[in-house]
């Protein structure tokens, strides 16, 4: 809705105030769970369900959580996982997208349809069979086993193909006349032009794999391979009992890197998710 028109309508009375009140109520309700968790995490346990304006702030819950489980290792595992998956995705999707965007090869139509199947049937849907495959490959309970099914991404291929298709043919031909081979053209012409799409895809991919849970839960079984999400679940369902202060501290700690990045680069995040979603 345009802003000018919205305004001219909005001037017309109580409707506007009711709407503002509604928007703010929803905004507060939406923020509430996170605010509540922060309250619990930053105050001593006796205040975890008890609100007092002057309750002392503390960082102890985070320290206790950090010391109660190998979170440093979990962080390392997640960072390794996310980096490995993203690096592989960028290379593989770029190559495949280039093939679909610029080559008329035999069977390209069917191949493209087969690639798109992964948009509906994500690897976690086939977890029983993929677990069997990882067993056969002898890599159960390892970080590559978590990442491997996601390294070829239909979503990434589609997104980059759409972008590459908008690159003018003339640029392509000019580079060709100057004697550049197909891979050089890809690297010198297509990749630089698609930079914003790469950034958008990278943000979405990192968020997805930082947060992914079910498949890593199934395929990992030890401290050396578990990502943060699985580590958090093992920690909070273990002998922690129900010390909510420590659990919420651990929970916020797990989400913190993404949350902080989001707060700093809010516009970039929103636009990336938007760009990635519009096909």
């Amino acid at each position: 809705m345009s802003q000018a028109a919205f305004h001219s309508h909005a001037q017309r009375g109580v409707g506007h105030w009711l709407e503002t009140a509604g928007a703010w109520t929803l905004g507060v309700v939406w923020a509430l769970p996170l605010l509540y968790a922060s309250w619990t995490a930053f105050h001593p346990p006796e205040f975890s369900t008890h609100f007092a304006l002057l309750a002392p702030l503390t960082f102890d819950n985070f320290v206790n959580a950090w010391n109660a489980a190998p979170f440093a290792r979990y962080f390392l595992n997640t960072i390794l996982l996310v980096t490995m998956v993203l690096a592989a995705q960028l290379v593989l999707c770029t190559l495949a997208a280039y093939a679909f965007a610029r080559y008329r090869f035999a069977g390209s139509g069917i191949a493209f349809a087969l690639v798109m199947v992964q948009l509906m049937v994500m690897p976690e849907v086939l977890l029983v069979e993929n677990y069997r495959t990882m067993g056969a490959l002898g890599i159960l309970d390892s970080i590559p086993a978590i990442g491997l099914p996601y390294m070829a991404s239909a979503f990434g291929i589609f997104l980059l193909r759409q972008t590459f298709k908008t690159v003018p043919r003339e640029l392509d031909e000019a580079a060709h006349i100057e004697g550049a081979g197909p891979l050089q053209i890809l690297l010198k012409v297509y990749v630089p032009l698609a930079k914003p799409v790469y950034i958008a895809y990278a943000l979405v991919s990192v968020s997805y794999h930082w947060n992914n849970f079910l498949w890593p839960l199934v395929v990992t079984n030890s401290v050396t391979s578990r990502p943060l999400t699985v580590g958090l679940q093992v920690f909070s369902s273990g002998d922690q009992g129900i010390d909510w202060s420590i659990i919420t501290a651990a929970t916020l700690m797990t989400a913190a890197p993404l949350l902080i990045a989001f707060l700093l680069f809010q516009r970039q995040f929103v636009q990336s998710f938007m760009r990635a979603g519009i096909r």
Binding site: H9, G22, Y103, N211, L214, L232, W244, A255
Partner: protein, 291 residues
């Protein structure tokens, strides 16, 4: 470039992705179908061909039907609600409301949080006696209620979590669409004296239709794909009242280690996702039109 060269280059570029996609999407889908016709190997007993036994066991399994029903209820509870809220959020954030930057932040933040972390926070929120919800209802003088422990309320609680997590994500697609609607349309409507509600119903909403269909497809996929919060909050209980199809597959496959039955269940999930893809292709790709 010769034809042969084009074929060779095209397939070479595609090869690495194709190998991985076949290995982790197409092969497992086919192998799920294959294994669903066999029994689960147990100790000395190798897998034996059992025909449709796994499927007839499934039809006779009350838990399967309950889980399927739960999933439908979960989808019907989550999808219309999150779409309606997403549209409202987008209209507000796109308009001239005071503090819209804060509102956008608040609406979108759940999207970047891990669902498992979200589930932990909500678990605390729903905790009997100590949780915020109980404190609030207690303040109103309502009797204490175990929200996640009761068959009647547990699924509703999970719906709330899913709506909270997803609405802000869908909001940004509507935001993008709203920015593409020409402002003069609304000015014209204002001159004609149309109320904002009429304008929304007759102009904005129809123009948002392609976005709604896109969001709808994603929402349906998510309703069948996201089960992380169940692992944390309820483990499918009490008495399977909150188990969804994929969670049941996980349970059967990795707690009872009955991979054959899990394969039959997975076929149902694949069938659901497949018909969704077909419906999208038949109706949505071809018939988006503006009225």
């Amino acid at each position: 470039m010769t034809r042969l060269q084009a074929n060779l280059h095209g397939w070479l570029l595609l090869l690495p992705s194709a190998v991985l996609l076949v290995l982790f999407t197409h092969y497992p889908a086919a192998s799920t179908l294959w294994h669903s016709f066999f029994s689960t190997p147990k100790g000395a007993h190798a897998a034996a061909f059992v025909g449709l036994d796994n499927y007839s066991a499934m039809v006779d399994d009350p838990v399967f039907w309950k889980v399927l029903r739960n999933n439908v209820v979960f989808a019907l509870g989550t999808i219309p609600m999150s779409i309606a809220l997403a549209i409202a959020m987008a209209l507000w954030v796109n308009g001239k409301i005071a503090g819209r930057a804060w509102l956008r932040l608040s609406f979108f933040a759940p999207t970047v949080l891990p669902l498992i972390a979200v589930a932990n926070i909500w678990l605390f929120f729903y905790t009997p006696q100590y949780g915020l919800l109980e404190q609030f209802t207690g303040m109103l003088g309502l009797p204490s209620h175990n929200w996640l422990g009761s068959q009647n309320t547990v699924l509703g609680c999970l719906v709330v979590v899913a709506v909270w997590k997803e609405a802000g994500f869908f909001m940004i697609f509507y935001l993008a669409a709203l920015q593409g609607i020409p402002p003069n349309l609304e000015e014209a409507a204002a001159i004609e004296g149309a109320s904002r509600w009429t304008f929304f119903r007759r102009v904005t909403f129809p123009l948002l239709m392609p976005t709604t269909l896109f969001v709808l497809v994603n929402a349906v996929i998510n309703a069948f794909r996201l089960v992380d919060h169940i692992v944390v909050m309820t483990k499918g209980g009490p008495d399977n009242a909150s188990a969804l199809l994929l969670y049941y597959i996980y349970d059967v496959g990795f707690k009872f280690w009955d991979s054959a039955y899990a394969a039959a269940l997975t076929m149902v999930l694949l069938l659901i996702l497949g018909s969704l893809a077909l419906a999208q292709w038949l109706f949505i790709e071809r018939r988006i039109h503006y009225r």
